[in-house]
Symmetry: C2
Subunit: 662 residues, 2 copies
């Protein structure tokens, strides 16, 4: 069974099925974006029926091609195709329930809602940037397991808006630099965006732009099936990533709204849909697809199934099968966790006084070789982030067998690529930048969280403690901004043991991202327990109990934990018994039941918290009039010690606040 020669007359009805389902579903939902699916239906149909390697009966097949609808607002394009090609979960009922509560057919494609949705898209630019990570992941897994097991493409449909977003530049720069030739982007080049003609705001020659980034580019009539088919074949021969500018008419078929922003983001209306049915020669009722149309789509699925069966046979015959399968699981290897445990024991014995970024580096050094698929990196701050362990080889355009990526000064593109690496499977990405630049990649951190992807963010230089670089580089509000994001675990360790524990939490977390918040400056060793329990995993715990009945609780995090401990000693000299709580993960602690919380922070006692950041988020624990030693403004440029004095983040200030309250 082989692919028949292209017959444009055969493609068109298949594409019209996509158009009809898209406009009918948007109409039924009274909300949505019909224009894009109608414009790209022809090109997408050629792609899906003649090029994509996909088996709807085994949608998790590791060597399937990945398809990313970066222009996520055109979600009905994807849902229609998944239905037509035979993904069981994508029933006609789901299409009828487009954009309704509990449906698999959300307004924008949501990863996890249905097979075939490879990533959540909607925030423009990020689909393309995530796809770069997937394509990179393919090359990395290929380097490990060879063409027999890993040899697939990543296809993207992107809109004008995707290309206008800055993250697209970061993404195409990474892809072009690494020569990710199995990445193909179909640009829906329809010259229309929400405000009107793209010429209102965009005169970039995007082909030239992509070429400047090392891409091969082509241009085709997106409604000419033969031209699209040829372009896709040509793309497969490229030794560079490929952009195909598909000239299309938005809302193709709609009698008055085609080619206008009017077809972009609202139902077409009954009259316009009637006219479109006539213009397209589509006489079927809404949500009715004739068998011959299904047959046409499912022929492609049959080819996919055969290819998948052949791959299954290769996997079964391969001596790498076990390793391959194990690596595809998101679970951390036991050996890596054991290595971290051993490292924690050694740290308890060595008692090193290091910056927590350095402690993080030591933790990575301890386990990385026991974690196949671990992929490190940094946005051009490798030495500052301590993300590179001795012996790690860099990924280059010629060799993908390494485990470290130099992403360049591209925080957002890096974070989105990490999402793509994680989604690809078999890879566990982490990488670094300064905490303050978490703002630059926040959109991608949010998608890590929304998609439950175990991406690890290493954010160093976490407070005024970075010193002279000044307020542009000193985070004060970022802890709150990250802690408040759903499904993000934030750890700000206070010494080398907590740093290693935070890494263990990060590795063990398989259903969401972890943020490690690390210092530039040194901290003393403080942990005195036997290391048998991961105390950081509790969010907060008693690290130095009061001698005698506690009169007050002092809470410290990160580099300020030692200030709380210092204050405890001073208070003791003054006859005040204080309990010291370490809170490496405030939001983890706040999620505990009240009983555990009360066992750590006694609600009957006054509280003073110390953290070189804003108090926002602390008021619940300490009370609106409670004691907080931290920042209430942006920082300043000076040596770290001078800044801590200047802003009053000192053990003395903790003592003073405490004495006011006992």
């Amino acid at each position: 069974m082989t692919q028949p020669a292209l017959d444009p007359a055969r493609i068109q009805p298949l594409a019209n099925a996509v158009r009809a389902l898209s406009m009918d579903a948007v109409e039924a939902a009274k909300s949505g974006h019909p224009g894009m699916p109608m414009g790209m239906a022809d090109a997408a149909t050629v792609l899906w029926t003649r090029h994509i390697k996909f088996d709807p009966k085994d949608t998790q097949w590791a060597d399937r091609d990945r398809f990313v609808l970066s222009a996520g607002h055109g979600s009905m394009l994807l849902y229609s195709i998944l239905h037509l090609i035979g993904v069981e979960e994508m029933t006609m009922e789901e299409l009828k329930n487009f954009r309704q509560l509990g449906s698999k057919t959300a307004g924008h494609p949501e990863f996890g809602h249905a097979p075939g949705i490879e990533t959540t898209t909607g925030p423009l630019g990020q689909g393309l940037a995530t796809a770069v990570g997937m394509a990179l992941g393919e090359r990395m897994m290929n380097a490990q397991y060879g063409d027999d097991l890993v040899d697939h493409r990543t296809w993207v449909i992107a809109s004008d808006g995707d290309l206008q977003e800055g993250v697209s530049q970061e993404a195409i720069s990474i892809a072009g630099h690494l020569k990710l030739s199995k990445l193909v982007v179909l640009w829906d080049d329809n010259s229309i965006q929400i405000d009107g003609d793209t010429a209102l705001s965009d005169t970039v020659d995007h082909r030239q732009r992509f070429e400047s980034a090392g891409w091969m580019t082509m241009e085709v009539d997106g409604h000419d099936a033969a031209a699209v088919d040829k372009a896709l074949n040509d793309a497969k021969m490229s030794d560079k990533p490929v952009l195909i500018a598909c000239k299309t008419t938005i809302g193709f078929g709609a009698p008055t709204k085609a080619g206008t922003a009017g077809s972009h983001g609202a139902p077409l209306g009954a009259e316009e849909i009637k006219g479109a049915r006539e213009a397209l020669g589509w006489s079927h009722e809404p949500f009715v697809i004739p068998d011959e149309i299904y047959d046409g789509w499912r022929f492609a699925a049959e080819l996919g199934a055969q290819t998948r069966e052949a791959w299954d046979a290769r996997l079964n015959a391969s001596d790498k099968a076990e390793a391959f399968t194990a690596q595809l699981s998101a679970e951390p290897p036991k050996a890596a966790l054991d290595a971290l445990d051993a490292h924690i024991q050694k740290t308890l014995s060595d008692k090193p006084a290091l910056a927590t970024r350095a402690s993080s580096g030591k933790a990575i050094e301890a386990f990385w070789q026991a974690f196949p698929g671990l992929i490190g990196g940094s946005a051009d701050l490798t030495g500052s982030n301590n993300t590179h362990a001795p012996g790690m080889a860099s990924i280059t355009p010629d060799d993908f067998s390494g485990s470290y990526v130099h992403y360049g000064v591209r925080e957002f593109g890096m974070a989105a690529a990490m999402n793509g690496l994680a989604l690809h499977g078999g890879l566990r990405p982490y990488s670094g930048t300064f905490l303050v630049f978490s703002d630059y990649c926040r959109g991608a951190i949010r998608l890590s969280a929304l998609m439950n992807q175990p991406v690890i963010y290493v954010f160093t230089h976490d407070s005024i403690g970075l010193g002279e670089d000044g307020p542009t580089h000193q985070p004060v509000e970022h802890l709150t901004a990250l802690r408040s994001m759903p499904n993000v675990a934030v750890y700000r360790p206070g010494d080398a043991v907590e740093a290693a524990e935070a890494w263990k939490c990060a590795l063990e977390r398989t259903d969401g991202p972890t943020v490690l918040v690390l210092s530039r400056q040194k901290v003393p060793h403080v942990r005195q327990d036997d290391g048998s329990t991961n105390l950081s995993a509790k969010g907060a715990y008693v690290i130095r109990d009061a001698e005698g009945d506690a009169q007050i609780t002092l809470i410290g995090t990160g580099t300020e934990l030692s200030l709380a401990i210092e204050a405890q000693a001073t208070l003791k000299d003054k006859g005040v018994h204080a309990r010291v709580v370490s809170a490496p993960s405030l939001e983890t602690f706040l999620k505990h039941e009240a009983d555990y919380r009360a066992s750590v922070v006694d609600p009957k006692l006054p509280v003073v918290a110390v953290e070189a950041a804003l108090r926002w988020g602390w008021d619940g624990l300490i009370g609106l009039e409670g004691g907080f030693v931290g920042m209430d403004s942006f920082g300043a440029s000076a040596p770290a010690g001078a800044l801590y004095e200047h802003f009053g983040v000192t053990a003395d200030a903790v003592v003073e606040q405490a004495l006011k309250r006992v």
Copy 2:
């Protein structure tokens, strides 16, 4: 007095003064970045002594050229030049105090620290993007006031890192589209970044990239003064924005570290500095500048002073002088505030039930014509953001007399450009996107706040109330993320009157940014007072007091304010007296003294707050175990009504929480 012909032998010692001051100051601070100032000293010296229109004796001169050191880490380049050219405040003592507490010479240039620092830089890419706003501002003011009063250039020095950041693409796309020909970027093309050679991560042909965006580009040896001079002259003739790739050696002059990442971000060390002094033929002691060097620099200053004097004469002779001067003040015109007051009175009488984004649009409509210099815009969501008032003309490459910018889908570039517009003077920018995409431009909001710039962010579609677009488009954590940023005023109005009041707060705020958080869905009219006091300005206030002694306080914001009012009525039927507080600006309220806070939210009464967002930040007011009706996860895709029911954000839930607590 005219500029003498270029004599490279005369330029070099002037440039070496920059190099010496830079390496000596970094050495004294034991921290900083000597490599960039040493590499770009020649080009910067040609620029500043022969091209920039600048009078050190009148640094606020409205028609001065703007200079932006986008590569802010090379701050000693700028400080050295400002000192050498004679900016009084930039004393030698300041240079000696580089990176020390209270100095004007922060690690990165901080706007407001000293004259000649036109914008805060350091977060890479944003200097360039801010400069685009300045160059746009020049064209807009020129369209209003003509060449006689407004005719200056914007010069930028940018690094490899600046060009790798995605925001640079957004910025150059806007600049190229609008043909901002008086913007000239000198790219410090030294092929070195922190991780090592730029070839590790970057193979983009940046000249080709800029050309694809409509720029003119050139390449010169950055150490060849004559070549740089010619390029700058050529740049002045361009009808497009200009990129000059200056091929330089980072750390030029340092015997072993020049050309390596080793000279980038750390003091060179005594030996290396000694070698550099020898290599450069600079025999003077640290921080000693011979008079003839000062003379060379200050000749340029004299020329600048003459040009400024001629301009002063033109201003004095102009019939536009009064309007020009008034517009340069950041104060809002009284007529605009009066128009808003009248609009508030009309709204109180009309009692419209509108989405707050629509109410915001009505407010803009009411005052915009009375506010010269007001510049609206949107990141391709004009209709959705309600940012465009009838009659507003769009800015185009051929006509800058309008008052609306179509920024394209470029939130970060837009926000940075707004910073540039505000910094330029004479312009008050506002523009819109969806609240969820505040993440995309957060880095620029932070700089608005850090620089005290009165930029107005219109963020619509502020909760699950946007409905079907789903969780990628539904903010839940963004209110906290924005409220927690220092010096940002966030307003989430609950009806049309509060929306107008929020606009009044925004216009009256001249020392920091304002964020307006607005709904997609309709809200009822709720205000019943006489409108004589701007109640929203208080942050929170009693909008419906209890009949009889209050037993509980209900707090609502934005679209949930009406739920609190509805709950009050239900509770009354059940015999419970509740007070309803409207809190359009939570962080403003929390900054009040305890007395005012207690007069609104009685600390002795239980509290239930309702807001369709996360409770993070509310715990101080309501207590850790207090009542909160809101979100505790990401949202979902469904019609808004279904989502409010699904997530339990209802008046009934407020009632239930209240009954538990009285």
